[in-house]
C-alpha cells in the first residue's frame, strides 16, 4: 500500500512544490511522539473511530505540507498538532451540521437514561455540549492544557476559554448527576 505522504505530488525541489515542506523523518518522529494525543483528542471530539482516523492522518499530512505555520515560539509541537486537529474537527462539524448555528451556549439534552456504563454516559454528556465547549473541556481535562494554552490553540481570549470551561462543567455536572460516583469511604 502506498503511504499518503508518498502520494503527495513530487517536484524538482522535493516531494511537494512547497519550499516549506518538513522533512519526512521529522514528521515520522512527530507522529511517533504525538499520535496518541492527536488521536485521543480527535476521537473525543468526534466520538467516532473512522473520523478520528481521518483527522489524525489529515493532521500529519498538514504538518508535512505546512510546516512553516508551526512556530516554536508560540507553543510546542504537541499543542500545534492539537490546534490543527481542532480546526479540522470543527471544519468537519460545520460540514456535517450545516444548518446548526455554531453557538457557544447550546447543549443538547443528553439521553443518558438507561446507560449502565459510566464511560458511555460521560461520552454522551460531552458529545451533547457545543463543539466550542467540548473542545475546551477535552483540552483541559484530558489533555491537561492550561487556559492560556487552550486560548492559544483556539485563537481566543483566556477569559473566553475560562467562561466556556465553566459553562461546560456546569452542563456536565447537571447531565451526569445521576451517575454520582459511590462513596469510597475515605
Amino acid at each position: 500500500m502506498q503511504g499518503i505522504l508518498d502520494a503527495l505530488p513530487v517536484s524538482s525541489n522535493g516531494r511537494t512544490g512547497n519550499t516549506h515542506q518538513m522533512d519526512e523523518s521529522i514528521v515520522r518522529q512527530a507522529f511517533e511522539e504525538h499520535k496518541d494525543a492527536v488521536y485521543a483528542f480527535a476521537w473525543r471530539m468526534t466520538n467516532c473511530t473512522a473520523a478520528a482516523d481521518d483527522l489524525t492522518q489529515d493532521c500529519f499530512v498538514e504538518l508535512f505540507r505546512q510546516s512553516n505555520s508551526f512556530n516554536p515560539a508560540r507553543g510546542n509541537l504537541r499543542n500545534y498538532l492539537l490546534g490543527v486537529t481542532r480546526n479540522l474537527a470543527l471544519k468537519r462539524w460545520r460540514k456535517e451540521n450545516r444548518f446548526l448555528a455554531f453557538d457557544d451556549d447550546f447543549a443538547h439534552a443528553a439521553a443518558l437514561d438507561g446507560l449502565a456504563d459510566t464511560a458511555l454516559a460521560v461520552a454522551a454528556a460531552i458529545q451533547s455540549l457545543s463543539p466550542l465547549q467540548r473542545e475546551v473541556i477535552i483540552l483541559f481535562e484530558y489533555e491537561g492544557l492550561t487556559l492560556q494554552e487552550i486560548a492559544a490553540i483556539t485563537e481566543g481570549e483566556t477569559g473566553t476559554v475560562k467562561s466556556r470551561l465553566y459553562r461546560a462543567r456546569e452542563n456536565l455536572r447537571r447531565a451526569l448527576a445521576s451517575f454520582r460516583p459511590v462513596n469510597r469511604g475515605f
Binding site: 500500500m1 507522529f31 488521536y39 460521560v122 460516583p181
Partner: protein
C-alpha cells in the same frame, strides 16, 4: 438531583478513556511507494468529470460510426452509354 461537585465530576470524566492510535495509521501515512511493475498495477489517475464526459461522447460516436455498415454498391443502375461524343484536344507539342 443535586449537581456534582468538582471532585465527583473529575472522577466521572476519568472513566471515559480514549483508545491508542491504531497501527494502520502509520502504514497509511508512511508506507513505501511501490516500485516497477507494482507501481504500474497500483497507480491511479485523476480525471476531471468534463474530460471524462467528452471522452465518453467521443468513444460512443466512434463506436457508432465503426459499427454502421457501409452502403452496399450495386451495378444494377449502371447503363452502357448510348452515344459518345469524343473530342480530341491535341497538345501544343503535337500541333508543331
Amino acid at each position: 438531583m443535586q449537581p456534582l461537585n468538582d471532585d465527583e465530576l473529575k472522577d466521572l470524566l476519568r472513566a471515559w478513556r480514549a483508545p491508542r492510535a491504531p497501527d494502520h495509521l502509520k502504514t497509511m501515512l508512511f508506507a513505501p511507494r511501490p516500485r516497477g511493475w507494482r507501481r504500474l498495477l497500483t497507480a491511479s489517475v485523476t480525471v476531471p468529470v468534463p474530460v471524462l464526459l467528452l471522452a465518453l461522447i467521443l468513444l460512443t460516436t466512434l463506436f457508432y460510426f465503426a459499427r454502421k455498415p457501409a452502403r452496399a454498391v450495386s451495378l444494377a443502375d449502371f447503363q452502357p452509354a448510348k452515344e459518345l461524343n469524343v473530342r480530341v484536344i491535341r497538345s501544343n507539342y503535337e500541333q508543331h
